[in-house]
Amino acid sequence: MELLLILVIGMLYAGGIYFILRRSMVKLLLGIMLLGSATNILIFVLGAIVKGKPPIIGSMQDVLDKASADPVPQALILTAIVISFALTAFAIVLLKRVYALLETDDLDDLNTPEEEDI
């Protein structure tokens, strides 16, 4: 399971970096999203995966009495997902605006010459 996830992480990082290095803005965004997923799975793997031991305290107990999964990585991932959700949503709106204004998807066209500055 771990080995599979590690391979997935590697592939996601590689794909994300490949996309980031392209000139298209949409692919840049996709690359950033892939990198985000890779990071989330990385945190998940680093939290030492165990199978079928949820860290839930039963109704009759006060503390966890047996070894169980670490809930912290999941909390971290959840927070990171929420944040990347907001970032991605904003990025999509920004991309749309840029495209509507400049009618280009090429990052190299994002350089209005300095003369046009005020």
Binding site: V82, A86, A89, I92, V93, A100
Partner: protein
């Protein structure tokens, strides 16, 4: 393009999804669920409605701008965070009322925090999606 199948299905799905989102919200403190997921489900309900009937119709159904949910939600959440400070406790400390209540079970600041998150999520998601879909036309 309006599909009458989707429109009919949405009419039944919208209340069910909203009810499910409230269920997730109330369940959230001890079991999987909570304000964020609940808010997402609720906003998906409205997004589905806007797919079937158009964005304007869902705006009318909502009755107000989704962005106006943001200060309400933030206010509720922030208030539940600072409330313990009036008792000299650190912020975010969970305060619980004694006894149980119908439907919600026990009542505490955590529930109000989740409620705030719920409203903020609905507000933000709908604002973003409506902005994207309205500029398309």
């Amino acid at each position: 393009m309006r599909s009458s199948i989707l429109q009919t299905a949405t009419r039944y799905l919208l209340p069910i999804l909203l009810l499910f989102s409230v269920f997730l919200l109330l369940r959230g403190h001890y079991y999987p669920g909570g304000g964020f997921v609940g808010g997402l489900v609720a906003s998906i309900a409205f997004v589905l409605h806007s797919f079937a009937n158009g964005t304007d119709a869902s705006m009318k159904l909502l009755g107000r701008k989704p962005l106006s949910l943001l200060p309400i939600g933030l206010g509720i959440a922030a208030f539940s965070v600072v409330l313990p400070m009036f008792w000299g406790l650190p912020p975010m400390t969970g305060l619980w009322l004694k006894g149980t209540f119908p439907i919600v079970g026990s009542l505490g600041t955590a529930l109000f925090f989740d409620l705030g998150v719920y409203l903020v999520v609905v507000g933000v998601v709908l604002t973003i999606l409506f902005t994207i879909s309205l500029t398309d036309d």
